[in-house]
């Protein structure tokens, strides 16, 4: 069967692009180098009987438009939305909790600060308003800066009007927030350090930045555009993130796409400046009318295509595209639910069901980043912890639990040693740091998996171990993602496209890059 389109990589964006393209009547072939489809959205056994969402722990959240257009919930996909967004314990047995319900959160905050309790609902509604105004921005193909088309002017104008419609106060907020350090934004709203740290952490999640780094508030605006909230919540998928990929893969296949695993692409074939297919590492050649890369920009342009196909200045810019990974992932197989002194037994099952945030103050987050600046792992890392087994018993034996820890910072470039020799040290550091908050944790650990930034690169193909396919800083977003002039999912090689997190609107399990890219590709191929 001839294929119209070859998609390199069965990450969620590649699969979503395959779904849209197949629905548009094209025949995509998705090639995945690993034995399992899903990229960063996979559920794998890491200890006998224990399974975890290996990389992404929850959806980013998935674009509601993608869920609706692909009718994902009808495909049997079950989303789990805990009532708790964030539980944040400190090491003295105190804690604060952010619930789904803003009023419930405000009521709980009154015990900590009357001012913060008063401001919290306004904080939530402000970001909801700004997020709603910004949301069309995510589904927009970044404009061609040199030659704005009428359609682009129209979309930008509409976005401008939506922002105008917010009124002066929110409009000014939006203008000010973009370039601001997230520590300042958090301090403008709240006086409680623990709450400031919860807000600030969202600005640096996955980034090579600390809360005092300029521009870190932009991530909150992007987050708000995605789900109208500044403080992201964990939306789990029943069966782990692999179930999402499974559903997408089945949907793509049913719609006419083909997915091949254990099929690693060695190179993209280019003839007369046009992509004509790919060559696999086993030597097999596959032809196609177009090639779409779900791999990150550095992998795509620096590894898969002959450099002679590009202008040297283009290659230079891609080499300067920043992708310094800072995240490690640790999974613990636990014989029992960990006890946090801040919680009673009755409290635990609800409060630990969302994200557990470990970083009690802004300085803690900044110091964690300081280590990374100088090439070392944080001794006291910022940790974002989820225990998916509290809401999904399919992942571990009865009574046991899986703890999934996003640990930051673990810089890809170490000043001393390498990640292969320092993996267990990293695991110990994270477990020790977490034990300050859950003192009996070690007693219940029956197995652990430590994924270093190098593993993220070698096993999962994320260049530099960067979980977002490249730093999500303002100079690498929208019309600059991955490069100015090449932010429209197309590349200097005709017929070669990008559809991954290295394109607008970037990382997180939103599916929007895949959906946007497929829209552009359909335009070109029709």
């Amino acid at each position: 069967m001839p294929h119209d389109i070859i998609i390199i990589g069965a990450g969620h964006n590649g699969l979503i692009a395959a779904c849209y393209l197949a629905k548009a009547g094209l025949k995509p072939l998705v090639l995945e180098r690993r034995a399992v489809a899903g990229g960063a959205c996979v559920t794998e056994e890491f200890h006998p009987g224990f399974r975890a969402s290996t990389l992404a722990a929850s959806t980013g959240p998935l674009s509601s438009q993608v869920v609706k257009e692909l009718q994902l919930e009808r495909q049997g996909l079950e989303f789990i939305k805990p009532t708790v967004r964030v539980f944040a314990p400190d090491s003295n047995g105190q804690s604060i909790c952010i619930y789904e319900d803003a009023q419930r959160t405000a009521d709980a905050l009154t015990h900590v600060s009357a001012k913060d309790a008063k401001n919290y609902p306004e904080f939530v509604s402000t970001f909801a308003r700004i997020g709603r105004a910004l949301s069309p921005f995510l589904r927009m193909t970044p404009p061609d800066i040199d030659q704005l088309s009428k359609g682009e002017l129209w979309s930008l104008g509409k976005l401008g009007l939506a922002i105008r419609g917010l009124g002066k106060k929110d409009e000014y907020r939006l203008l000010r927030y973009g370039p601001m350090a997230v520590a300042d934004l958090a301090a403008e709203w709240f006086e409680t350090e623990a709450l400031r740290a919860i807000v600030a952490a969202r600005g640096i999640f996955g980034a090579f930045a600390g809360p005092w780094s300029a521009g870190t508030s932009a991530a909150l605006l992007l987050q708000a555009a995605t789900d109208e909230q500044a403080i992201a919540r964990a939306v789990f998928v029943k069966g782990g993130m692999g179930a999402l990929s499974q559903t997408l893969a089945e949907l793509a296949t049913r719609s006419g796409a083909e997915i091949r695993t254990n099929a690693e692409v060695a190179s993209v074939s280019v003839r007369d400046g046009k992509a004509t297919g790919v060559v696999l590492t086993n030597g097999e050649e596959i032809q196609g009318r177009a090639v779409i890369s779900n791999a990150d920009p550095r992998t795509t342009f620096l590894k898969l295509v002959d450099p002679a196909e590009f202008d040297p200045s283009f290659l230079n810019k891609i080499r300067n595209y920043r992708a310094h990974g800072t995240v490690a992932k640790i999974h613990l197989a636990l014989s029992a639910l960990p006890r946090f002194p801040a919680l009673t037994d009755e409290d635990s099952t609800e409060k630990l069901s969302g994200r557990t945030h470990i970083a009690p103050d802004i300085d803690y987050l900044e110091r964690a980043f300081d280590a990374a600046k100088y090439g070392d792992m944080s001794r006291q890392p910022y940790m974002d912890v989820t225990i998916p087994t509290l809401t999904d018993q399919t992942l571990a034996p009865a009574g046991s639990h899986v703890m999934s820890i996003h640990a930051q910072f673990a810089p890809y470039h170490l000043k001393e040693g390498d990640w292969k020799s320092r993996r267990e040290e990293l695991g110990d550091t994270v477990v020790n740091a977490l034990s300050d908050y859950a003192p009996q944790l070690k007693e219940s650990i029956v197995g652990r998996q430590v994924i270093t930034p190098l593993d993220l690169e070698e096993t999962y193909g994320l260049s530099g171990g960067q979980i977002h396919h490249g730093e999500m800083s303002v100079d690498q977003l929208f019309a600059f993602r991955p490069l100015i002039g090449w932010a429209r999912y197309r590349t200097p090689v005709e017929g070669l496209y990008l559809c991954g997190a290295g394109t607008h609107p970037g990382g997180g399990v939103t599916g929007t890059p895949g959906a946007n890219a497929s829209r552009e590709i359909v335009k070109d191929l029709r």
């Binding site: 000014y172 203008l175 601001m180 350090a181 300085d363 600046k373 100088y374």
Partner: protein, 221 residues
Amino acid sequence: MKMVGAEHLPTDFVDDIKRYKFRGSSGKVNLALDGLPDFKCMPGAGPHLRGAVSISPSVEYMERAYDDAKYGRYSRRPYIDIVIPSLTDPSIAPPGKHVMSCFVQYAPYNLKEGNWDDKREAFGDTVIDTIAEHAPNIKDIVLHRQVLTPLDLERDFGLSEGNIFQGELTLEQLFFLRPAPGWAQYRSPIRNLYMCGSATHPGGGIMGASGRNAAMEILKD
């Protein structure tokens, strides 16, 4: 807030001014010298002393200098920008003597421990020690020193929180956001009260543009 009083101003404007960030981060050390500093990397006098001398040996050095300030202390090894104006303008020092002017960063206005009046001399020593690592003869030629802390900049020169630019020059405080969104056209909520300083567009530095722009607006009115 001091001269007009919050009670005469709109609430939103007062909120904006309250959140306007100053946070001075630099100090100034002026030295009267008996001779010229002798730098290890380029010994002797010469044209290299006539421009700016920058003590900023690496990006990491400057980042570590900033790290100290983030946690509320002055840099143990600061970034120093030095000029010796007496080399090009002999009128400012007696014959054979020199003036050395050192811009020192970081010196955060808000100290975590102690206060600037108690730390002034220790801060001055840090600056001299840092320079001595590059020009070892400095300690022998200092005749007198003046140490200006961010607190001195505030008290003696009227610079709030010792910020030399009348407010941080960060993107969220520039152009139409300087000093407050909606009040960036040199006018204020009080009729006939204008602003013409570095806290207006285009901000700090000795360029005079704020003053000129303000004058043009005032002439229009």
